[in-house]
Amino acid sequence: MMLELLPQQLANGLALGSTYALVALGLTLIFGVLLIPNFAHGEFYMLGAFVTYALVATGLNFWLAMATAVVLVVLIGWIVDRVVFQPVAAAPGHDSGGHGSGLSLMISALAGSIILQQLATIIWGTEARTIPAPMTGMVRTSLFTITYLQITIIATLAVAWTAVWLVLHRSRLGLAIRATSQNRDAALLMGISMTRVRLATFAIGAALGAVAGALLGATFPIYPSMGVNPVLKAFVVLVIGGIGSLPGAIVGGLVLGMVEVMVAGYGSSQFQDIGTFLILVAVLLIRPQGLFGRAQVER
């Protein structure tokens, strides 16, 4: 009897996992290239949702609103990097190269996250809001149903991944970003400008966060602290998939979504979160660098 439901549970897992992967994609990029555990990624996500909400409320088309939100959140991302992360990197106690220590970067990331949440609270209040869904309806087959919005999210994930892959592997800027992520000092010795790499990385990361926020904000209510849980899930995804690995973020997100759905569907819904941590522990024991991670390169 339960096996009949497997196709639907797989569809559920795919839909849920795609949302995790979409949030994790931007996080893993910034972490992988700049070694910043960017907790404020949850706020890029939240601001993507709120800006889209505000623009849709003025009557703008959802997709135009989302595009505008992406641009705005990229600007905010740059400001966050400039105000929150660069001063830490430049502070005494770190070499000129601009590596902050992990701990101080994490603390400043948390501070940035809280400040952005408070700003959003001042502007929009704490009350939950909803972005009118850009589409309704669903595909019903004999095996499973899936909503158009879920299909859109899965498709967006595929498009986002392809776009980021093309930028990283088919452009000079991408070459510089990849070089930086593999060996920052050597990248500097090649004459790569860290400013440009930072700007580009934060732009792509923030844009991915904003897209995720706009799309998921059309599914769930939005509120200033909405980014906190997704970003924690995204860190779990990073550990599963391998920090800094884009395919790792995608596969890690999908694995996490599938495991959660299977645990809740075939075990008990009370254990959904336990499933998350079981897979986390399993990965850490069997493959500590994550599914797609390589053992850390000497830096």
Binding site: L16, T145, V261
Partner: protein, 395 residues
Amino acid sequence: MVNLRPSLATCLILGLGILPMIGGGAKAADEIVIGEIHPITGPATFYGLPESRGVQLAAEHINKAGGVKVGGKEYQIRIATEDDQASPTVGVAALRKLVSADVRFIIGPLASGVAPALKPIVERNDKLTQLIDGTIAENMTNGKNIFRNQATVGGYNVAVAELFKAKKYPSVAMMTDRFHAGFMNSQKDLAGNLKELGVSIASEDYYKLGDTDFSAALTNLRGRNAEVLLIRGYPAEGALITKQARQLGFTGQVVWEMVSPPSTVLKNITAAEMEGVYNCIPPTTEDYVKLGDEKAIALDKAYRAKHNEGPGELTALSHDAVYIFKAAFEKAGSLDNAAVNKAMAALMVSDIPELVTRYTPQPDGRLFAADGQVDLRGEVSVWRGEAWEPARLTD
């Protein structure tokens, strides 16, 4: 050195803030101060703000009609409002602030998380009388100086049982917010009651506040032939669960057990998807209005005139709380807490004709049972169009 300046400014601001309070204290001779603690901001604003406004409206109304008569003297009621943001720590701070300003009568809080945090403080302070107009968790009152005029979750479950009896539903799948103490503690009893009615419990699933994806548990409903999906928690998740259940092909009856403002519901689900959903809670302010209750209509009118929008689900409870205090003061003939507590415990439902909420009197006619809890029973309402309305179960 520079650091001194902000702290100096803080002192000044604090000083300026305290001055009017001292002034207020001096005037206290012909004034009764009632403190109210509600979530004016934060995630539970949609419950808390209409409650706070209900308290204010009742106080204004009483003052205009001559105030409270205690021992041949007339007093005006002044409301001291504190915002607990539905957070236990903020709530405790709010209570301490009221106590330090010598406020001895408290209405609130709303949130199930705040009430247990306040309970030990109030219980130990014999200069406090508290009337809770919120949380439905059991065991929040003591009948000595803590009372409650909101239902307990047991009162909600009465309506659930009534609905299942009337509709003869054969089976139910339950989804419960596992961090809601009230619902969780009563889950076993409710399941037992339903089993006695011949209802088979197809499944019991749990979720938590803030969850957004319920697809795994809801997919399983398909194989379990549950006639009814019973959701026990808060309205945002309730709406998402209802929506996702429909998307996943659940065609049975959806039943809620939660106070759910339509505005909050409609943020998460369309009105069409809500059509026909039952809700088992004590009647809300709006329900009384729809039933044609004159006192409720008057309250509704006054509220709309002042705030340009309709009252909240719980406005009537908060409004009633002020009248319950007034009746207790007058019955006690004193503003001494011990006397007020005693009078409050002895109040008859018939002593307070202004009550909007229809309480079931105790066997001896009193409002509160010995443990300080009112008897307020859930009734079944149904979603029609854009809002809830009282349901008639006979047809």
